[in-house]
Symmetry: C2
Subunit: 104 residues, 2 copies
DNA sequence: ATAATAGGCAACCAAATGGTTGCATGTCAA
DNA sequence: TTGACATGCAACCATTTGGTTGCCTATTAT
């Protein structure tokens, strides 16, 4: 879980996930196109996404195909974000009331 | 949005959010209790959470009260995670089919 | 066979990160 | 008013991070 959060912390990596979301199964070369980064930098980012299990790869001849794995993202939503949903409505409006309570 | 992802990347900071979720409105001192970290380290983490708008603070005399703001977390769920929900089911099972398609 | 293509590996670098220590300031209580 | 308590500020440090360059390997096409 920590590795997923870590992997998502970088905007370039989130952009790579976006690209794969738009078109799944792209090669390294395709994923590099138009990015202001060397191929090796992209390789590293994809490696981080891979160890976080957000991307799965498959060698196909000399090409490496990259596939988005949405499961960890979904899990963050289920196991983590939903925890904080409750109390969302009461949050900031309730804040002042709690403060005033403290003054008594 | 980037600042939120960045802030959530660190486990200590997520733990601080958990603590505030369990009991809102804690002071810096309270949030330090039991952590294997100096007060100053915690201060920095809270600062990062604050600039990401995940925590709101209020001075109350010599104390600084910390309140969880769940809104950015909710937004990540809405604006980001939901994008990747679609295609979740077709993901890995679909993967091989796409591959075989490529071979033709 | 050989050249072009797709990707891998490793060393290196600057900047950001997570943490520390030491000292200063503001506020409350005796 | 003086000491204790809660927090702030700044310098410093080691490690991680995001990126580079240079070279090597494997596969495909001519």
């Amino acid at each position: 879980m920590d590795e997923v959060f870590r992997a998502l912390a970088d905007a370039s990596r989130r952009a790579l996930l976006d690209r794969l979301h738009a078109r799944n199964g792209q090669t390294l070369g395709e994923l590099c196109d138009g990015l202001a980064m060397t191929r090796q930098a992209v390789t590293k980012h994809l490696g981080i996404l891979e160890t976080a299990n957000l991307v799965t790869t498959l060698r196909h001849g000399r090409e490496k195909l990259h596939y988005l794995n949405p499961v960890p993202i979904h899990q963050i939503g289920e196991r983590w974000i939903k925890k904080f949903e409750r109390g969302k409505l009461t949050a900031l409006s309730e804040l002042k009331r709690q403060l005033e309570k403290r003054d008594e």
